[in-house]
Subunit: 245 residues, 2 copies
């Protein structure tokens, strides 16, 4: 008992200078904004909602909210996803902080951009309050705040990362055809790819599981369906060394 109490007192003394130090720092409001990508009808989509603010009336914005007291940053981003889409277990990663002093009309607000990838089919968007909906990435003209800049930065991040990591599978149904996979890459990267080379590439990686099922209800020869072999990928991660610029 006494030992415990002594330890408490000792640690109180140790942090006695830390608390006033932190109290002396300026404080700013902190938010999280999620750039949530989806893929449907061969189009890259982003989940957006109408802004509440008068100055941005009729403009759309990213899904965001302030970070609560003592809430972890990643938790805040997952909370927003959960509140807006009802989904857990969604891919999400911190991308960058945006903190220009004038980026918010109500005063200084720092925001942390998160990029999220989700499978539209797995999640029926029930709530459409404030015009919450999926919008075609390439058709979005402008957004509230600096959200267009944030969205474009996250798109660049996605373009880079989808080439180095198997992120794309988060946007597809469990079962997908090679054509869908290629369409996804083409939509995100804004290029067209050679079909044979694309298929060869994925065949040689040996990370797709042939489930012996075929597309249904297509008016042409149906394609085979595959699943992604997440386990094998996790085991085989390699460290790449090379110099290329």
């Amino acid at each position: 008992m006494n030992i415990k109490r002594d330890q408490d007192i000792a640690s109180q003394q140790l942090i006695q200078d830390a608390v006033p130090l932190v109290l002396s720092y300026p404080k700013v409001p902190l938010t999280v904004d999620c750039v949530i990508f989806g893929f449907e009808e061969n189009k890259l989509k982003v989940l957006l909602i109408k802004s509440d603010l008068k100055i941005y009336k009729n403009k759309l914005s990213l899904l965001g909210d302030f970070v609560k007291d003592n809430e972890d940053l990643d938790d805040a981003a997952y909370r927003i996803l959960k509140e807006r889409t009802g989904m857990n277990n969604v891919f999400l990663d911190q991308v960058r902080v945006f903190g220009k002093p004038d980026r918010h009309p109500g005063g200084r607000v720092i925001t942390i951009a998160y990029c999220s990838l989700l499978n539209i089919q797995h999640h029926a968007l029930n709530i459409h309050d404030h015009e919450l909906d999926w919008y075609n990435y390439h058709a979005i003209k402008d957004l509230a705040f600096d959200h267009k800049e944030i969205m474009e930065y996250c798109h660049g991040w996605l373009q880079k990362n989808i080439q180095e990591h198997p992120l794309g599978f988060n946007l597809l149904p469990d079962k997908f055809s090679l054509r869908e996979l290629q369409n996804l890459y083409e939509a995100i990267l804004g290029v067209t790819l050679d079909r044979r080379n694309f298929r060869k590439k994925f065949a040689s990686m040996d990370l797709l599981i042939d489930i012996n099922e075929y597309e249904q209800d297509v008016s042409h020869r149906p394609g085979k369906l595959y699943k992604f072999n997440f386990e094998k990928y996790e085991k085989g991660k390699r460290k790449w060394v090379g110099i290329d610029f």
Copy 2:
């Protein structure tokens, strides 16, 4: 006059809902921490300083400071560099936010990690207050706060980025030998590279300017010195497309 005044009133009305919204947000102290890498005697170094806090006495920490009211985030990072090293025009990039609620003993503090690369020779470290000095990256055991984690994250960031962009030249003198360049890559990546292939690689890139000077005061055949052709690099940037994971 009246038109201007009407506009002012109109814009006041437009932001009238934005200001109370922002005022309603929780506020947190925000700091910037710089992981400043240098390279000397074929060793990767980091600039560290003794922590002020009692709880961390005898521990080293990164160079950091709070972000001032209305100070841009990048500006804050440059300010810290300038105050501590006297240097401007140094490579610096935002890497990630660290915001675990308990990462600071004095209460919640969010910090933005910046990675900076600087040429130790260009900057004589005059001030050594609080044991401000260069420390060997690989010999650092532990640091105050979560700074070890931040430092290691930035090292990973550097490893990745030095392979894709010519960042390494920020750590070298204007004139350098191929051996120094290779030592730099080996120190950062923690690998050994084949000398002939390394030289061929850089020769084929054609981004090194042969300045027809040689090393001095070495006890062996002196190596040629080169400069990096920043202009040519800037012009020739290409967009890479490929799938590799």
